[in-house]
Symmetry: C2
Amino acid sequence: MARKKSQTESSTETTETTRRAPMRDFSRSLPMSLLRAREAVMRQFRPSLRNHGLTEQQWRILRALTTVDAIEVTELARVAFLLGPSLSRILRDLEARQLIERRAAKADLRRAVVSISAKGLKLIEAVAPTSEAIYAEITSRYGARKLAELQDMLGVLERSLVAMEVAGEESGEIEE
Amino acid sequence: MARKKSQTESSTETTETTRRAPMRDFSRSLPMSLLRAREAVMRQFRPSLRNHGLTEQQWRILRALTTVDAIEVTELARVAFLLGPSLSRILRDLEARQLIERRAAKADLRRAVVSISAKGLKLIEAVAPTSEAIYAEITSRYGARKLAELQDMLGVLERSLVAMEVAGEESGEIEE
DNA sequence: CGATTTCACTTAACATGTTAATCATCTGCC
DNA sequence: GGCAGATGATTAACATGTTAAGTGAAATCG
């Protein structure tokens, strides 16, 4: 908890003008930096996905399904990084479009097991070339080594924050 | 693409086998890395914001408004990095809650000028200490220098991609 | 001027993010 | 076996993301 308030005070003089240089500090916050970077990346992919009638999340799910034979919904949510409710809706739609197949797990009827269909695979194969070309272009422009370094730093950040959450819970704040 | 199919039977311990190293390449893509990192960051802030009845976007807007006297909607969308329709809805709600004030520009009745209200300022001041403490904690955990380097790399990436878009348009694809 | 086009929003419509509640099954314990 | 609590998945409700269409005001051009 010990935290010295050092650069938190600089906001007074950062607001030197209040009219020009609109919120330099704010737009440079970490969440904003990450948001803008991700948006800049996705803006490259969205048109191609859209041409094939897929949203970004639908693509993530189908893409994930190509790497496994079948997978339970909860596990799919984890790998595709979607919350349960979003995944539920999307799976319903993808199933209606016959891009995926779903069945109940024999040993536990609560669990649903999902897999990609032949039609879904065909769709993926139609989109993949463009996507990979875009990804290659990004890698080329930014630099493969730099890109790897960036992703490494993002991974470290992610793990730092998970550790931070754990640290915050080990007191007695599990009250509800 | 090649991934050896293990087993999806034996539901109980399938979780054991399947959860290790599934789709390594996919979950390591740049968009996923950025998404997970940002989510890990925002997960730290959301509870505090929620306690004050604010969403992330509402906070972004109010926070942006504290750095200027008044600002036009389009410009606010640019700084807070929100699309017009989202901003329209949020401004409507914030205005109903009397956290902001809105008036038409004298010189151009199409434009609306927004500013934060006294009530909005008070709310910001109530939330800011916690937010800044969290941000300081993140900075401390990850390292201030490393954080600055990360944000710099994100900025470079963003500019690379903008340049990439421009390059894609300079042929004749401005057809409708 | 006056019609047309452009511009600054705003609405509409649909998909997802987010949290809470619901539902069905499962598990542990008696 | 049966019941209370845990668990997997879905549904509900509201907020935002995203693209397209609509609205009113301003700029442009004939």
